[in-house]
C-alpha cells in the first residue's frame, strides 16, 4: 500500500463518514436556506457575503473540529497506526475528506440557489454572471476552508472534542465579531484620532491592521469592502470585488492578487501547523 493510496482511502473514509452524518444534511440545509433567503430577499449582495463571512465559519469549524480527536478518543487512531501508514498520511487524508465535503456543501448549495433564482425570477441566464458566481463560490470555499483546517488543527491539539470545538468557537467569535472593533480601537490608539473624524490616516491605519483578518480578505475579493463583520466600519471602494462585472476577471486578479494569495495560503499554513502538531503528538 503506497502512501498515496493510504491518503485516498482515509480521505474517502472521512468523506463517507461526513456524508453519513446527520450534521452534513443539517449544515447543507442551513447553508442553502440562509443563502436562499438572503439572495432573493436582499437588495445588496454584500448582505449575502456578510452572512457567509460572519456566520458560516462556524459550520466549517463543525466539519473539522473532531477530525483527529474523535479517532484519538475512540482509540481507532492506535489501530490505524498499526497499519503501514504515517501520521502525515492520516492528517492529509482527513484534510482532503473535510475539503471535499466542504466543497460539496458550498458548490451544490450555490448551484441550487442560482438555479432557484433563475426559476423564480425568470432572469436571463448570462455566462458572465454564472462565472462570477462560481468565482464567488471558490473564494467562499477557500475562506471557509481556513476555518475548517483550523478546526482540524485544534483537533490535533486538544484532548476532548468539546475543547476543540470551544477553541474553534473562540477563534470564530474573535475573528468575526471582536477583531473589527479591536482594530478600530487600535487604530484610534495608534493615530490618536477617532473613527468619527473620518481622517485618511485613521482609515489607512485600520486598513493595514485588517490584513490579519481572514474576513477582510474575503470581503475584499467578493464585494470590495474592507470588512464585513458587525460593529466595525467598511470602506466601499470603486471596484466591488470579483462580482463587479464592470471589470474583467484578469483585471480583478491583478487588483486583488494579494488577497487571493492570502486566502490560498491560509489553509496551507494551518495544514502545515496541523502536520507539525500531529507529528509531535504523543499518542
Amino acid at each position: 500500500m503506497t502512501n498515496k493510496n493510504a491518503v485516498l482511502i482515509i480521505a474517502k473514509k472521512e468523506f463517507s463518514d461526513k456524508l453519513h452524518e446527520p450534521s452534513f444534511l443539517v449544515m447543507m440545509s442551513i447553508f442553502m436556506v440562509t443563502l436562499f433567503v438572503y439572495t432573493l430577499g436582499s437588495s445588496s449582495f454584500s448582505n449575502v457575503a456578510r452572512v457567509i463571512g460572519v456566520f458560516f465559519p462556524i459550520l466549517a469549524i463543525a466539519l473539522g473540529y473532531d477530525g483527529i480527536i474523535k479517532e484519538k478518543n475512540s482509540k481507532s487512531l492506535n489501530v490505524l497506526l498499526t497499519h503501514p501508514l504515517f501520521r502525515d498520511n492520516i492528517i492529509t487524508g482527513k484534510f482532503f475528506g473535510i475539503s471535499i465535503t466542504l466543497g460539496l456543501v458550498v458548490f451544490i448549495s450555490l448551484i441550487i440557489i442560482a438555479a432557484s433564482d433563475f426559476l423564480i425570477s425568470g432572469k436571463i441566464v448570462q455566462f458572465e454572471a454564472l462565472s462570477r458566481l462560481m468565482i464567488f463560490g471558490i473564494f467562499t470555499y477557500l475562506y471557509l476552508l481556513t476555518f475548517a483546517v483550523f478546526a482540524l488543527f485544534t483537533s490535533t491539539r486538544c484532548k476532548t472534542e468539546i475543547g476543540s470545538l470551544a477553541w474553534g468557537v473562540v477563534i470564530w467569535i474573535n475573528m468575526c465579531f471582536v477583531l473589527g472593533p479591536t482594530i478600530i480601537m487600535l487604530s484610534s490608539i495608534i493615530t490618536g484620532q477617532s473613527m468619527f473624524e473620518m481622517t485618511d490616516k485613521f482609515f489607512s491605519t485600520g486598513a493595514l491592521l485588517f490584513n490579519i483578518s481572514p474576513i477582510h480578505h474575503f470581503a475584499e475579493v467578493t464585494v470590495g469592502n474592507l470588512d464585513l463583520s458587525y460593529g466595525t466600519f467598511g470602506i466601499q471602494r470603486d471596484v466591488h470585488g470579483f462580482l463587479d462585472t464592470k471589470y474583467s476577471v484578469s483585471y480583478l486578479i491583478g487588483h486583488y492578487w494579494q488577497n487571493v494569495i492570502i486566502l490560498l495560503a491560509l489553509p496551507v499554513i494551518l495544514l502545515v501547523a496541523s502536520y507539525i502538531s500531529f507529528l509531535r503528538e504523543n499518542i
Binding site: 474517502k12 468523506f15 463517507s16 463518514d17 456524508l19 453519513h20 432573493l40 437588495s43 460539496l104 451544490i108 448551484i111 441550487i112 442560482a114 438555479a115 432557484s116 433564482d117 433563475f118 426559476l119 423564480i120 425570477s121 425568470g122 432572469k123 436571463i124 441566464v125 448570462q126 454572471a129
Partner: protein
C-alpha cells in the same frame, strides 16, 4: 424788319447749335460719346449720389478710340469723380473693333454740412476726335426730402405669454442708387421691456448701425422680452432706421399680444433613445436620453432626473448638472436601467424630467416591460435536477453503508 428778325433768329439757332454748352447729353459728333438719362437728383446733405452714364462709340469704326472724362466745376468741398467697376477713371479706351457700350458712374459725395439748395456739377467728355461735350448734373439738397428707404416686417404681429421672448424679423430696403449707412433705434416700447436689435446671422451681436448697398435689402431681428409680470393685452414696439446724415426716418410698428393662457413652448426637450424596453428580471440596459435646449436663451445647471419604480432602478451617469446649455445645443446622457431579480412581470413607466435653474421639460416616460425569460426557467430546473442527481450519486457512491 421781319426779315432781319428772321435772320437774327437763324443766327441765334446756329450759334446755339454750335455752342459746346448747348450739348445737353451728347456731342453732336465724336469718335466716342457719353450720354446720361438722369442728370438731376434730390438728396440730403452728406449723401453720395450716383449718376449712371453710358459711353459708346459715336459711329461704327474699327479704329481704336478714347474719351477723357473730367470734372470742370463742382461746389466747394464736394467730391466728384467718374467710376467704373475697377475704380475711379479719367479715360476710357475703345480698342479696335470694340463697339460695346460702357457704363460709368459719376459719383458725387455731398458734404454733411451742405445747406439746402440747388448745386451744379459740370463735367467734360473729350473724345480723341470730334466735339467736346460739356454736361451739367444738378443736385438739389433738401433736408425735408422724403426718405428713399423702407422698413417693414412680413409678420408684424405676434402672440406670446409673459416672460416668453419672441423675435420679429424686420427688413430694411434701401432704394437709393448709392450705399447708405443708417442708425437703428427703438422709438416706442413698454417700460421695463428689453428690446434687442440683433444680427440675423448668429443672433449674437446687438446692432446699432447698418450699412446697405444701393438698391439692397437687409434683415435684422427685433427680440422682445416681455417681463413676467406683464398684464395681458396688446403692446406696440416701434423701430426706426435713420440715415446718418438725415433727419428723416423709416419706421415700422410691431404688435405683440401678451396672453398668459397661451400654451408655451418648452425650452427643454427630452428625447429618449428608446421609449419601450423589454427586460428580464436581473438584467439591465443602457440607453441615451438627449436633453435639448429648444429655447432662445442659454440654460444653466441642467440635469436629468428620473423616478424609480418598484423593481426597477435607474442610474443617470452624469457628473452633476450641465453647467450651461446654449440655445439649440443638446447633450446625450447615458442612463443605466436595471431590473431587480425579484421584479414582478408587467409594464412599468419610468418618469423623467430635465430641469434647469429657470425652466423644466415636460415629463417623459420610458415604458419598461419586465418579461420573465422562459429559457431561464428550464435552465433553473435543469440545474436543480443535475445538482440533486450529483448529490445523490455522491452519497450513493461514497456514503457509508
Amino acid at each position: 424788319m421781319c426779315q432781319n428778325n428772321s435772320v437774327k433768329a437763324l443766327l441765334l439757332v446756329f450759334f446755339v447749335l454750335l455752342s459746346p454748352a448747348s450739348s445737353i447729353a451728347s456731342a453732336d459728333w465724336g469718335t466716342v460719346v457719353a450720354t446720361s438719362e438722369t442728370t438731376g437728383k434730390v438728396a440730403i446733405s452728406g449723401d453720395i449720389i450716383e449718376f449712371p452714364i453710358t459711353v459708346q462709340r459715336g459711329h461704327n469704326s474699327s479704329e481704336k478710340a478714347w474719351i477723357g472724362l473730367s470734372v470742370s466745376s463742382a461746389p466747394e468741398n464736394w467730391d466728384v469723380g467718374f467710376y467704373e467697376e475697377n475704380g475711379q477713371i479719367l479715360f476710357l479706351n475703345f480698342p479696335e473693333n470694340e463697339n460695346k457700350k460702357r457704363n460709368v458712374i459719376l459719383r458725387v459725395k455731398t458734404p454733411s454740412e451742405a445747406n439746402d439748395g440747388v448745386y451744379s456739377v459740370w463735367v467734360n467728355f473729350v473724345p480723341d476726335e470730334g466735339d467736346i461735350s460739356i454736361q451739367e448734373f444738378v443736385v438739389k439738397i433738401d433736408s425735408d426730402a422724403d426718405i428713399n428707404m423702407q422698413l417693414y416686417s412680413a409678420i408684424p404681429g405676434l402672440e406670446t405669454s409673459p416672460a416668453e421672448p419672441v423675435e420679429f424679423i424686420v427688413t430694411i430696403e434701401n432704394n437709393y442708387d448709392h450705399r447708405i449707412k443708417v442708425n437703428l433705434d427703438v422709438l416706442e416700447k413698454s417700460e421695463d421691456w428689453d428690446i434687442q436689435l440683433l444680427e440675423i446671422e448668429n443672433k449674437k451681436y446687438r446692432i446699432t448701425k447698418q450699412s446697405l448697398e444701393k438698391n439692397s435689402k437687409q434683415d435684422f431681428i427685433v427680440r422682445v422680452n416681455p417681463p413676467i409680470d406683464t398684464v395681458d393685452g396688446s403692446y406696440t414696439i416701434t423701430v426706426a432706421v435713420t440715415p446718418e446724415n438725415g433727419p428723416q426716418s423709416a419706421k415700422e410698428t410691431l404688435e405683440l399680444e401678451i396672453n398668459g393662457n397661451i400654451e408655451t413652448n418648452e425650452a427643454l426637450v427630452l428625447i429618449p433613445e428608446e421609449v419601450n424596453l423589454i427586460l428580464s428580471p436581473g438584467s439591465d440596459s443602457e440607453i441615451y436620453v438627449t436633453i435639448k435646449n429648444t429655447g432662445i436663451q442659454q440654460l444653466e445647471n441642467v440635469e436629468l432626473r428620473m423616478q424609480d419604480v418598484s423593481g426597477i432602478s435607474t442610474d443617470v451617469r452624469m457628473f452633476g448638472a450641465i453647467d450651461k446649455l446654449d440655445s439649440g445645443e443638446s447633450k446625450e446622457i447615458p442612463v443605466q436601467i436595471s431590473v431587480r431579480a425579484d421584479a414582478s412581470s408587467g409594464s412599468k413607466d419610468i418618469l423623467m424630467r430635465a430641469i434647469s435653474d429657470t425652466t423644466n421639460s415636460e415629463d417623459g416616460t420610458i415604458a419598461i416591460v419586465v418579461e420573465r425569460s422562459e429559457s431561464s426557467g428550464f435552465f433553473g430546473v435543469g440545474l436543480i435536477l443535475i445538482s440533486i442527481c450529483v448529490l445523490g450519486l455522491i452519497i450513493y457512491k461514497f456514503g457509508r453503508r
